[in-house]
Structures are given as C-alpha cells and as structure tokens.
C-alpha cells in the first residue's frame, strides 16, 4: 500500500513527455535541497534527437543534479522537464558494477530487472559486448578489471536497454588521461553508429568539444546557463580533431566561458 503510494508520487513528479524531435528539454528548472542549498536556478535548454549536449561548469554548479532531475531520480523544485525516451540510459561517474556478478551478468542486469526473457537478454548482452570491445572478458569479475574496462562494462550495461537518450555523469572523470581519450574516441564511434541523444556532464572543455554538438556552460552555484556554444564539426569525428585549430578555438571559447563562471 505504502509502496504503491510512493510509486504514484514518483510518477507524478517524473518528467513529462517531450515534443517530437526533442529528446530532453529543461524549462526554467530550479532545485533547492531540503537543507536550503540552491543547486540550480532557471535552467532552460533543449537536447534534440540525435544530438549530444555537453554540460560544463564548476564543481557544485548542479551538473549532476540536472541529470538526476532528467532521469526522475530527483524532483525539480520549479520549472518543468520533458523527456522523449521512457527510461534514459544513465552512466554514472563510478561504474557502479555489482562486484559479485561477472561482466556478462553485470551488463544484463538492467534487462533482467526489466524482466526481459532470457534469450532476448543474451542477444542484447552479446550486442553490447561487441559494441564496447569487451569480448573475451565475459566471465571476468569487476575485481579483475582496470578502471577503463569497468567503465566500458558500465557503458555496455546502459547500451543493452537501447535508450534513445543517454545521461553521462562525468563517466571518464576518474580515469587517467590516455584511457579517458581512448574511451572518448570509442564513445564517438558508438555515437556515430547508433545516433542516440545524449547529455554529457564533464569538467573538461576539450572532452566537451570533441564529443558534443553543443556545449552548455553553467555558472557557479546556483547553476544557471551562462552560455551555449555550438561546436562546428560534423560526425564522424576523428580523434585527430583535437589538434585542429578550429577545435582549439572552440575549446578556448568554452574554457573562457567556464573561467567566467567561477567569477
């Protein structure tokens, strides 16, 4: 009884449906936590279908809160959120794997929670493993994997549900530079193939420009949109793009906006 009530409540607060062509839209979204901390103020922007929008901003500017609101994990205090896909794929900063499950079983977790039949699940898992280059590691446990490999498993797990919208919460933030770049390149390739919509939270201006169609810069707490910078590159993008002068210029524009946000 209590539980159905709670679920109904969650449904009422969960994001509403988005208009056609829009994967996700925030309209005047604000968030104040029960302890009085104001995390977000009047945030409005849209993620169109098949578009990756990167969100950069200082620590504590409510970037993660924005993702939690989009997924329905947290309720917005004001404004409205509209989401195109039923349940977005969520990739957390930590891989959040279950250490007792094998790679295979971890990847299949969401499908299993959703009650997908075993045969279908096996196919979804095999596809995700092929897409993320995890072949050969199916029976390993997270303990035996490096940070980068764990992140791949986390990504594969989100892929199994074939969401049309992905929420990335600094997924490569805890990794070393080289692994970070490699996974960025892989995500680019994946995006070029699958063309999902994505909201990508990151600290790195370069990472934002490499991956995204548009970069949203948030201010310090309470976060509000300071600038939206279009990235003038088509997909597929190659990792060599990092050395392009136009790339450098765009990344500098993001960095400068980011520096202003600290002021």
């Amino acid at each position: 009884m209590k539980q159905t009530k709670r679920r109904a409540q969650r449904q009422a607060s969960s994001p509403g449906p988005a208009p056609v062509g829009t994967a996700l839209s925030f309209r005047g979204v604000g968030k104040t936590f029960p302890d009085g901390t104001r995390a977000l103020r009047e945030v409005s922007f849209t993620v169109r279908d098949t578009e990756i929008v990167a969100v950069v901003g200082p620590s504590g500017s409510g970037k993660s809160t924005l993702l939690r609101i989009a997924s329905g994990l947290t309720e917005a205090s004001s404004g409205s959120v509209a989401v195109g896909s039923a349940v977005p794929g969520y990739v957390f900063q930590d891989p959040t794997l279950l250490p007792w499950r094998t790679v295979e079983a971890n990847i299949g977790l969401l499908a299993e929670l959703d009650g997908v039949a075993k045969e279908e699940r096996r196919r979804l898992v095999a596809d995700a493993i092929a897409l993320t280059g995890l072949a050969g590691f199916e029976r390993h446990r997270p303990k035996a994997l490096s940070g980068g490999m764990r992140m791949r498993v986390s990504l594969a797990r989100a892929l199994t549900m074939r969401p049309s919208l992905f929420l990335f919460d600094e997924p490569f933030g805890a990794l070393d530079e080289i692994t970070r770049e490699r996974l960025g390149d892989e995500l680019l390739r994946l995006y070029t193939r699958e063309r999902f919509a994505g909201l990508f939270v990151t600290h790195s201006a370069a990472e934002a420009v490499l991956l995204a169609t548009r970069v949203v810069v948030l201010s310090a707490r309470p976060g509000r949109v300071l600038a939206q910078i279009e990235v003038p590159f088509d997909y597929p993008r190659q990792s060599g793009l990092r050395f392009d002068t136009e790339f450098t210029r765009t990344a500098r524009a993001v960095s400068e906006a980011l520096r202003e946000s600290f002021a």
């Binding site: 539980q3 969520y90 957390f92 959040t96 250490p99 007792w100 969401l110 929670l113 446990r141 303990k143």
Partner: protein, 282 residues
C-alpha cells in the same frame, strides 16, 4: 618471440616451487617458533619453579600428552564431552544466525523496527551472560535447549550488527540503478543488499562462532546437570586435581574454537573471495 622465450618454461617452474615453499614457511615458521618458546617456558616453569610434590599445578607438556591424549579412557571422555558441547554450539550458532539475519533485514527494511529493537539488542549484549545462565537453568531446566539458549544469547548481537552494516554498504549509485528500473524492495534486497552484505555477514559469523563455543562451555560449566559437556569435565578434573586431563581438555576446547574460526574463514574465502575487494566497493 617464441624463440626468445623458449628456455623460460623450463627454467621457471623450479624457482616458483621454491618461492611457494618459502611463502608457506614464512607463514608457518613464526607461529611455530612462538609455540617452541611457550613449550620451553612451560618446561622451565614446571621443573624449575615447582617442587615434584607441587608439580601437578603445572604438569610438563609430555605429562599432559601422556595423561590426557594417550590415555584412551580419558581422551575418549574428553572427545565425547566435546561432541556434546559442539552440538550445542552449532545448533546455537545456526539459530542465532537465522534470528540475527532476520532481525537485521527487518531493521534495514523499516526504520521503526530498528528504532524499537536496536537498543534492546545492545542491552542484550551488555548483560553479563554469567548472571543470566543460572536463571535460564532455573526457568528452562538443564537439558540441550536451555544450553542452546545461552549460545544464542551470546552469539546473536555480532550477527545483527554485522549483517545490518553489510546491508547498508551498497553505494548510492548502485541503489540509483535499481531505482531507475523501479525495482521492488524484494529485488533490491536479494540482488543488491544481501550479496553486498555477505563479507560483513561472514565477519559476524566468525565472531559469533567463537562466542557460541564459549556459550556452550559456560552453560555446561554452570548447569552441572544434564548430559556432561567439556565445561563439566573441566570442572570435574579441577576438583579431583587431575591436572594432565585438565590441561588436555582445555587444549582440546581451544583447538575446537580455532577450527571453527578457520572453517568460517575458509567459507568466506570460497563464497566472497572471488569477488570481494576490501576497501573498494564498486
């Protein structure tokens, strides 16, 4: 590549065997050295400090072995007493585990259960068990089950606290994952919280197993009625000044506790070892 490495497979296995032996020696030698020192000191005290007339207070080790372990009648007596005690301890531990884990799960599911019962669980732990044992005999008699109650009382608390701690060890991200999929409480418990709690559960079981053995011996020692266990035997040997068998009985009960402790260590290693990373729960 292969040509370069060709001699290696021949050359390597030998040092590996040696290093494994050396590793085993490193673990086994220090405690063995301590044993030697203790036995040596024991001999010294027994022969240097006690006149032959009073040597029964600390009989030399070989006397203990002769009187306690090699005298079949005595050793048989000790073993059958140990069997009775072990039965009580094991049944007590099983009941304490079932009760303790159930309580921990209930406390984890509903705050009010925790708020209502946890203070009493703490109180249960602080009651001096020796003060309660006579009361238990007084109420329930001196048979098998009253002894088991003593074990349950003494072994329950570590299971509750460790299981509860373990159930709460899943991180927010893992919970979010289940929330996003609208997983039921039951799913969350069986797929996330309980497996995550296993390392802590085994820690609790290990502590409680030792306590349960102590509970069985204490109960037996104080009841002095019903089927005799190792506690009564120790009491009897003390009264009749049979120090050889007395020391043997003490050693046997200590060994039993040690074996139980190791068994749970092994079980934890088999169940949790393949995946558990201490200090890094991801």
């Amino acid at each position: 590549m292969t040509a370069d490495n060709a001699p290696l497979p021949v050359a390597r296995p030998l040092p590996r065997v040696f290093s494994r032996l050396a590793g085993a020696a490193r673990t086994a030698l220090p405690p063995f050295a301590v044993l030697c020192v203790v036995v040596g000191a024991w001999y010294l005290v027994s022969y240097a400090l006690f006149a032959p007339r009073r040597r029964f207070l600390l009989p030399p080790p070989h006397q203990v072995v002769l009187d306690g372990f090699l005298d079949w009648a005595t050793f048989h007596e000790i073993l059958s007493a140990l069997e009775a005690t072990a039965k009580v301890a094991v049944v007590g531990l099983v009941i304490a585990s079932a009760l303790g884990m159930t309580f921990a799960v209930l406390m984890n599911q509903a705050r009010w259960v925790e708020r209502s019962f946890y203070p009493w669980a703490v109180l249960l732990q602080t009651i001096p068990i020796l003060a309660v044992v006579p009361l238990i005999g007084f109420w329930f008699g001196y048979g098998f089950w009253p002894r088991t109650i003593v074990c349950v009382l003494i072994a329950l608390f570590p299971i509750i606290t460790n299981t509860l701690f373990g159930l709460r060890s899943a991180d927010t991200g893992q919970h979010d994952l289940f929330t996003l999929r609208q997983a039921s409480r039951w799913r969350r418990l069986i797929w996330l919280e309980f497996p995550g709690a296993l390392p802590a559960v085994f820690t609790g079981l290990r502590i409680s197993a030792g306590l349960s053995v102590i509970g069985a011996i204490v109960g037996d020692f104080f009841f002095r009625q019903g089927e005799p266990g190792i506690g009564r035997l120790i009491d009897g040997y003390t009264r009749s000044l049979e120090s050889g068998p007395l020391f043997a009985a003490i050693i046997v009960s200590a060994l039993f506790g040690f074996v139980v402790f190791c068994l749970f260590g092994l079980a934890a290693h088999l169940v949790v070892g393949p995946w558990y990373e201490p200090g890094q729960r991801r």
